[in-house]
């Protein structure tokens, strides 16, 4: 199972899982980075900061040239000073250094402070100074703007790069995932195919076993039929031989009718044998379907006994005593199949009991079933014999010479079960055997 090929496949699978997880993790990390870098800082607002400084310088220049109120000049002076102070703050100063213009702006703030109007400085000198400042600022504004956009463009480049990396990671993870899915699907398909193959093999083995069994049964059946055929054929042959014996006197009519009766009985036995064989064959092909309907089992028993009086005269059917039963015993059954079962059980009782003994037949009911019991006064059967009695071709011990196919009980039980019923054998109290047919009651069906 775990050959080198299998190990290689496991390694490949594990590798794909690692690649898939690793690339997913990488993509997640890159996306987090992307999210962080997407923040905008106020420091990145240098165009505004620088612009405001320019405006304040112009405002102060304007206030001075308009000869505005000293308080107003002072305010504009303070505000311009605050703007220059801001440009000297850490982040702003670094920006200007990066843009290469911090040198040219250095010193303006202290120069302005030295001309503080509150300290009584010369307004004319202040105006000249501010005018120079305005010119210096104007010269650098475009540098500030281009540097800021350089920074922004570089940042967008970084974001784009991160974005592409994340995308590539996700695509890689997807490819690995697809590989994984392919391997798993392939594995599942193999498993399914293996399972199907095993099921098919099991079915084939079962079929073979059943075929072997059937073939064995057929062989035994053929033996049995051949054996059973011999006796009636021998009877007929002997009768014919006697009738056609040459010489002496013409054959007396009594002898003809006697031999004819013997021959007909032999033929009837042959017919019965072939009927049973046919029925078994049809059952094996599942060609028999029961047609269930409500029937009073007492009536069925009566009609079967009537038939037996005609067909089984040699076993003296008049020995059968049907117990009187007033209440109707309605079962849900197929009358033809049930007749076959009853006929079989009664024939067995007649066959396996002394010629002068009684056979009792009674119909009763339980909560769920109608039961017909056939009781004979033969030698009975041991529990082991009962256990094997329903096997095919089993003949009662010591009765191998009696006519019969050895299929009767097998057939009877099979037909009973087809109707939701059962056939069972129990020893009769006081000797002999009780054969019972159970059929579902109409109401409980």
């Amino acid at each position: 199972m775990t050959g080198p090929r299998e190990w290689i496949r496991y390694l490949g699978l594990g590798g794909l899982v690692l690649i898939c997880l690793g690339l997913s993790g990488l993509a997640a990390w890159q996306l987090v980075q992307l999210e962080r870098q997407m923040r905008i800082d106020a420091t990145e607002n240098m165009i505004w900061v620088f612009g405001q400084t320019q405006i304040e310088a112009l405002n102060l220049a304007l206030a001075l040239s308009d000869e505005a109120a000293p308080q107003q000049v002072q305010t504009r002076f303070d505000v311009l000073l605050s703007r220059l102070t801001l440009l000297e703050g850490g982040p702003q100063r670094r920006f200007l250094e990066d843009a290469g213009i911090s040198e040219t702006l250095a010193g303006w703030r202290s120069g302005l402070l030295a001309l503080d109007p509150a300290q009584g400085a010369d307004p004319v000198a202040l105006r000249a100074y501010v005018t120079a400042l305005v010119a210096a600022l104007r010269g650098k504004a475009s540098l500030v703007m281009s540097h800021e956009w350089q920074i922004q463009a570089a940042r967008l480049d970084r974001l784009g790069h991160l974005h592409r990396l994340a995308l590539a990671s996700i695509l890689g993870a997807a490819v690995a995932g697809m590989g994984l899915a392919t391997i798993l699907i392939d594995r599942e398909r193999r498993l399914m195919k293996g399972r199907l193959d095993r099921l098919r093999a099991e079915k084939l083995a079962g079929d073979l076993e059943r075929e072997r069994e059937t073939s064995e049964n057929h062989r035994r059946f053929a033996d049995l039929i051949a054996h059973q055929l011999r006796t009636p054929l021998a009877v007929i042959d002997s009768a014919m031989h006697r009738l056609t014996r040459r010489g002496t006197d013409p054959v007396p009519p009594e002898l003809i009718s006697e031999k004819a009766a013997v021959s007909r009985e032999a033929v009837a036995r042959l017919v019965k044998l072939t009927d049973t064989a046919l029925m078994m064959s049809r059952l094996e092909r599942d060609a028999v379907l029961p047609h269930l309907s409500a029937h009073d089992l007492r009536d069925l028993v009566t009609s079967v006994i009537d038939d037996l009086v005609v067909t089984a005269q040699d076993r003296d059917p008049s020995r059968i005593r049907q117990q009187a039963q007033a209440a109707p015993m309605v079962a849900l059954c197929d009358p033809a199949l049930t007749g076959e079962i009853l006929s079989n059980l009664l024939c067995n009782a007649l066959l396996y009991s002394p010629p002068d003994s009684r056979v009792d037949v009674g119909v009763s009911q339980t909560r769920t079933h109608i039961v017909c019991r056939v009781k004979d006064r033969g030698r009975g059967m041991s529990p082991e014999e009962i256990a094997r009695a329903f096997d095919r071709f089993r003949r009662g011990s010591g009765h191998e010479t009696l006519p019969g196919s050895g299929l009767g009980l097998t057939l009877a039980r099979h037909l009973a079960r087809m109707q939701g019923g059962e056939v069972s054998l129990t020893p009769r109290a006081g000797g002999g055997l009780t054969a019972a047919l159970y059929l579902p009651r109409e109401a409980s069906a």
Binding site: D41, A42, T43, G89, P91, L113
Partner: protein, 160 residues
């Protein structure tokens, strides 16, 4: 610029600036208009001194390190002025104007700072009043939309 140079510079600036800022108790620092008591409330340095003072250190978007700010809470100022409104329009000495939701002042301890690192804020820097958000205590505040509300040189609030 080395540290020594900077210190000398700051000392020089302080020497020049400090005398120029008259710390007059009666001069108006902040004017509130709009939906406030009698439509106009003027707060002098003495008024500020009379209120509860708070301080915290925070990074800012325009300075290095984490300066220590000291001042009164914006919500205390609005309470004192009897302000009733959802927004304040903050106006600075340098004509910067921006609307700030009053909810900010209740959600965060927003400071109207008068001191940075123990030095009074002057109109020549970011004074007299600088609206300072506790940027380091809430991740959401490290954002341009909040950075825009850090009004320095604050002189007027219009409540609406």
């Amino acid at each position: 610029m080395n540290l020594r140079h900077r210190i000398t510079r700051i000392a020089l600036i302080a020497a020049l600036v400090l005398p120029a800022v008259p710390v007059a108790a009666e001069s108006v620092l902040l004017t509130l208009t709009g939906a406030v008591t009698d439509g106009r409330v003027e707060l002098t340095r003495a008024d500020f001194e009379a209120m509860d003072w708070h301080e915290f250190a925070t990074s800012t978007s325009v300075t290095d390190n984490r300066p220590e700010f000291r001042g009164v809470l914006m919500r205390d100022i609005l309470t004192r002025a009897g302000a009733e409104g959802s927004h304040v329009r903050a106006t600075a000495l340098n004509d910067y104007v921006i609307d700030i939701p009053v909810a900010d002042f209740h959600r965060f301890d927003v400071l109207a700072a008068l001191y940075m690192d123990g030095v009074p804020l002057s109109p020549r820097d970011k004074g007299p009043v600088w609206i300072v958000y506790p940027r380091d205590d809430h991740g959401i505040l490290a954002d341009i939309r909040y950075d825009m509300r850090w009004v320095w040189q604050l002189v007027a609030l219009h409540v609406q």
